[in-house]
Amino acid sequence: MMEFLRARTWQEALAAKAERRDALPIAGGTDVMVELNFDRRRPAALLDLSPVPELRGWHQADGWLAVGAGVTYAELTGERGQAERRELGRRLRGLAIAARTVGSPQIRNRGTIGGNLGSASPAGDCHPSLLAARAEVEVASVRGSRRIGIDDFFTGVKRSALAPDELIAAVWIRPPSGPEQFAKIGTRNAMVIAVAAFALALDPERGLVGTGIGSAAPTPVRALAAESFLAGAIGDAGLWESRRPLPEPVMSEFAALVSAAARPIDDVRGTAGYRRHALGVLARRTLGWAWRDYCEEAR
């Protein structure tokens, strides 16, 4: 027998999770229900967070955006939602592109950013953009709340830093000051799990580059060497200010470093060799698009 707990407020949700640490949170259900239906998981209890109003919106504070865990992919893309929510897609460009690659319209209407993080799949479509933007995950329990840097959030295949009594409250993102990009490879043109994915964020104000790699390592990962190489190359040559074209060797080296940051495997969706190769291509292309947008912004 599986118990079904339904929280009407955030306080109720935290209390329930404190009492029933074995309860599996469910929001859109796009991951959880599949696991239940396929008999891969039989949690003792489900904790339904979908009615919790505190999770549904977003707000700004100190230059950061706090996106509630219950915000759906459709709201991130701007496909659905009120004007205020469509604004979200404009501010978080990388996440908007990533959310558009998720499933079908029906899935995007149900699935949430909090659920994506909770599942912590290496193939989660939001993760690369959150890594590139150096997001923080706000988690809470009756003991209080804390913010976990996105780098520390993913601890293994489908494992996260969430304590057993904690729930994901929101994702905090300081929108990068420059262009963001996201690209995802699947073996059909829609409704597909990533074979490999890559996200890029340029932050000229802070002189930073952010990256995120999906489906090519046990967890979503950043390409740290690629980030520091590119930020250094751009900074050293004064390109943030001059907005001149990126030299070809810089593009190539960045692509090679992204490729090298992956730790892919062979599986039914693709080979390790293909993933590594494809990430290099995606890195180069997304950098080209982002840099062109950055140069065009100035005109």
Partner: protein, 781 residues
């Protein structure tokens, strides 16, 4: 009366519509689009219990013991059954009864049923099944279809591992040609991927018999096999068709049929079984994977001289339709071309891979990937345009095929190719014009789609052509017939026709065609399609593109007999024994004038009919075919051939290996389009299924194990993968067939995939000798 000299017409208000040749609406259409249609998985009885299947985790193993005690002791469990509970023959199969109902002593594929559980809830039944302890002794599986024929390979069946070897020998045994090309090709294992999983409900009748409601393609062949397994007579096992959510060949073999009946008879309760999506991948046969090698010779004049081919088809653990698949791959293995000398060897083989059997276009689909690649290679070697080269060698009426059979009805192969060639090409790609994602060009039009992998970088376009053909109906001497019962009577003062056949409606629209034929032949608007069941004789299988031809022929003939009896009544009533009569618009029309041209209404059909009930049941056969000669493969093996040609246009991202099929245009000869909209629907669907095999659909099997039994990883095309299609429907009537019809469902599945691969080769310059083509086949990484 002003209408006295009018011709009968369908335009009279309140009178019959939906004759043959019109796009009459489906009787089940509204229910299906509103979600109210009851599929097999919706079957329900209040007192029913649920059956589940325990399957082998090993591709090949001895069963040392099966302990059911713990499972049987589970609360809510009604029965746990194993091989020893099968009362009749523990063996079934479409062509050879080589497949056990429940494995006994040995399992030959991963997923083979070993035991059954019935319980009051499916979850309880699944948990109990998990408590059955089966002690296996795993054996090394035979997974290579070529190695399986090695005399040293383990013999998986008493007769060895060869299911059928077909030899086709024609013309010069030692041919030589000025230009020779060779190639080896590989076709992956495709799944029918029907959306409605296997489902049925077995209801015991209390007298030792059972009623089975089941989603299937052929009620009577099911009935025969179920009877043999249960040790019952046909009148004790009655089948009724449950709503079928797609079939494509995958429902020709038994799945849960015997299992549900066994549990129902054992427990005395109605038993429902529904496979999950994952179980469905283990619960039906797949398309045979193929290893194909071809050698073609041609003269400098561009004429084919000879073809040699060796084809291995992996039948998996049990024979299913393998013999027929071998037959098609061989007898049509040279493609729709005139080739003076032919030497083809096709081997259908047992392995420990998942069983393979019927799937849309079988045999022809596999061979076409090979021979069409060869046609392009030969054209290139000869410096000829691929369409020009094909047309130079195209079959036509009067041509002799590889079996020596002369094509005795229209075979417009060259015209089909020329027609797709002349269609307008799609506009140049939006590649390069896009800005950042979503702000510039439409990502959905690019390879990679919304994945935002290219804005035009690396994208090149290719165009490719292919043509293919397929036999219609059952071949090689099979007694292929259908039965139809047609009844005409007044119901509440109105004439009503009821048509009863056992022909499975699987989504293709036969129910509509049956209505259209009855309306046309009997002039009555109201036609009721009686539920499909074994209360009437066999209609044969809904496969081989045959039902409109064969069951359509049976319905037409039954209507003709009913009509003659009605005419006899009318002539008596009118006292005009020689009157020439016509039925239309619910009226009997009397032909007048010496030329018989004018016609006047003689009265309402219903008035002449009165209380009479006119009913006729007929068995109808297409013309006879013969087995091929075992040494030479020569003979009149096929009743009819059907042809289609495609032109594919693809955009390929060379750096990522991602593909967008931009256009997939088709020309097909259908003889006579009884329902033009349904015909176009078949061509669209068939083309899409061929597209799937070309670029994404594959059951990945490693060491006998299926690695991707889900729609997460077995990908079928979405609307962003299937382009709009230009479709040219030709109607060259076949004089041997009712109304001149030609089977429609399979030909588009044969040529669409090879056309796409040809386009990919044109775009990439790569050999691409394996389907589906995967991204890393293009990138070489």
């Amino acid at each position: 009366m002003s209408r006295a000299t009018q011709q009968p017409s369908q335009s009279v208000s309140g009178q019959p519509e939906g004759l043959i040749g019109t796009s009459a609406r489906r009787p089940d259409g509204r229910l299906k689009v509103t979600g109210e249609f009851a599929y097999g998985s919706d079957l329900w009885m209040d007192d029913m219990i649920w059956g589940v299947t325990l399957r082998s985790p090993h591709p090949y193993a001895k069963i040392k013991s099966v302990s059911i005690g713990a499972a049987l002791a589970t609360g809510g469990v009604y029965a746990v059954l194993t091989a020893q509970d099968v009362p009749g023959d523990n063996a079934y199969g479409l062509e050879h009864a080589d497949q056990p109902v429940l494995a006994s002593g040995v399992v030959r594929y991963a997923g083979e049923p070993v035991a059954l559980v019935a319980a009051d809830h499916p979850e309880v039944a699944r948990r109990a099944a998990g408590k059955i302890v089966v002690e296996y002794e795993p054996l090394d599986p035979v997974t290579d279809p070529v190695a399986a024929l090695d005399p040293a390979a383990p013999r998986l069946h008493p007769g060895g591992n060869l299911v059928r070897h077909l030899k086709i020998r024609k013309g010069d045994p030692e041919p030589a040609a000025e230009v020779v090309v060779t190639g080896c090709y590989q076709v992956g294992m495709q799944d029918q991927a029907f959306l409605g999983p296997e489902a049925g409900l077995a209801v015991p009748d209390g007298n030792g018999g059972v009623d089975l409601y089941v989603s299937t393609q052929w009620l009577h062949v099911d009935q025969k096999q179920v009877c043999a397994a249960l040790g019952l007579r046909p009148e004790q096992v009655r089948l009724t068709l449950a709503g079928v959510g797609g079939a494509f060949g995958g429902r020709e073999d038994l799945s849960m049929h015997v299992h549900a009946c066994l549990l129902a008879l054992h427990t005395g309760k109605p038993v429902k079984m529904v496979y999950s999506r994952e179980e469905s991948f283990f619960g039906h046969v797949h398309r045979h994977p193929a290893l194909i090698s071809y050698e073609h010779g041609a003269g400098r004049d561009g004429k084919l001289v000879y073809v040699k081919a060796v084809i291995h088809l992996d039948g998996g653990a049990y024979a299913s339709s393998t013999s027929a698949v071998v037959g098609n791959a061989g007898t049509m293995g040279a493609g729709p071309y005139v080739v003076p000398s032919v030497r083809i060897d096709v081997y259908g083989v047992y392995t420990n891979n998942p069983p393979c059997g019927a799937m849309r276009g079988f045999g022809s689909v596999q061979a076409a990937f090979g021979y069409e690649a060869q046609m392009d290679k030969l054209a290139a070697a000869l410096g000829l345009d691929p369409v020009q080269f094909r047309c130079l060698n195209a079959m036509e009426m009067g041509s002799s095929g590889p079996t020596g059979q002369v094509i005795d009805s229209p075979a417009p192969v060259a015209e089909l190719l020329r027609r797709v060639e002349r269609m307008p090409l799609p506009a140049a790609g939006s590649g390069g014009s896009g800005g950042s994602a979503g702000s510039g060009g439409d990502l959905r039009q690019l390879p990679g789609g919304v994945g935002n992998t290219t804005h035009g970088e690396g994208v090149v376009r290719g165009v490719g052509y292919a043509v293919g053909y397929k036999n219609v109906g059952f071949s090689e001497g099979y007694d292929d017939y259908s039965t139809a019962r047609v009844r005409l009577e007044n119901v509440a003062g109105e004439p009503v026709v009821s048509v009863h056949t056992a022909a499975a409606e699987v989504g293709q629209g036969l129910v509509t065609i049956e209505q259209q034929i009855c309306r046309t032949e009997l002039g009555v608007g109201q036609v009721v399609v009686v539920p499909k069941d074994t209360g009437v004789g066999s209609a044969g299988s809904t496969s081989a593109s045959r039902q409109t031809y064969v069951t359509g022929g049976a319905v037409k003939h039954a209507c003709e007999l009913v009509r003659e009896r009605l005419f006899t009544l009318v002539r008596l009533r009118l006292e005009l024994p020689g009157a020439e009569l016509v039925l239309a618009d619910n009226l009997v029309w009397l032909r007048t004038g010496d030329d018989g041209a004018g016609a006047g209404p003689a009265g309402l059909i219903g008035d002449f009919l009165g209380d009479e009930v006119i009913e006729e049941t007929v068995q109808w056969r297409h013309r006879k075919t013969w087995p091929v000669d075992p040494q030479t493969g020569q003979g009149f093996a096929h009743v009819q051939y059907a042809f289609a040609a495609h032109r594919a246009v693809v955009d390929v991202d060379l750096e990522l290996g991602l593909v967008k099929v931009v256009a997939l245009d088709c020309a097909q000869d259908v003889g006579k389009a009884l329902n033009p909209q349904a015909v176009v629907g078949q061509i669209q669907g068939g083309s899409a299924q061929g597209l799937g095999l070309a670029v994404m659909e594959e059951i990945q099997v490693r060491d006998g194990m299926i690695k991707n039994p889900s729609f997460t990883d077995y990908l079928i095309p979405t609307i962003l993968d299937v382009p709009p299609m230009r479709i040219d429907v030709l109607e060259y009537q076949d004089p041997h067939a009712p109304y001149g019809v030609r089977g429609v469902g399979e030909p588009p599945t044969i040529s669409s995939g090879p056309a796409i691969v040809a386009a990919l080769r044109a775009a990439t310059g790569l050999e691409l000798n394996r389907v589906p083509v995967r991204p890393h086949d293009i990138t070489g990484t």
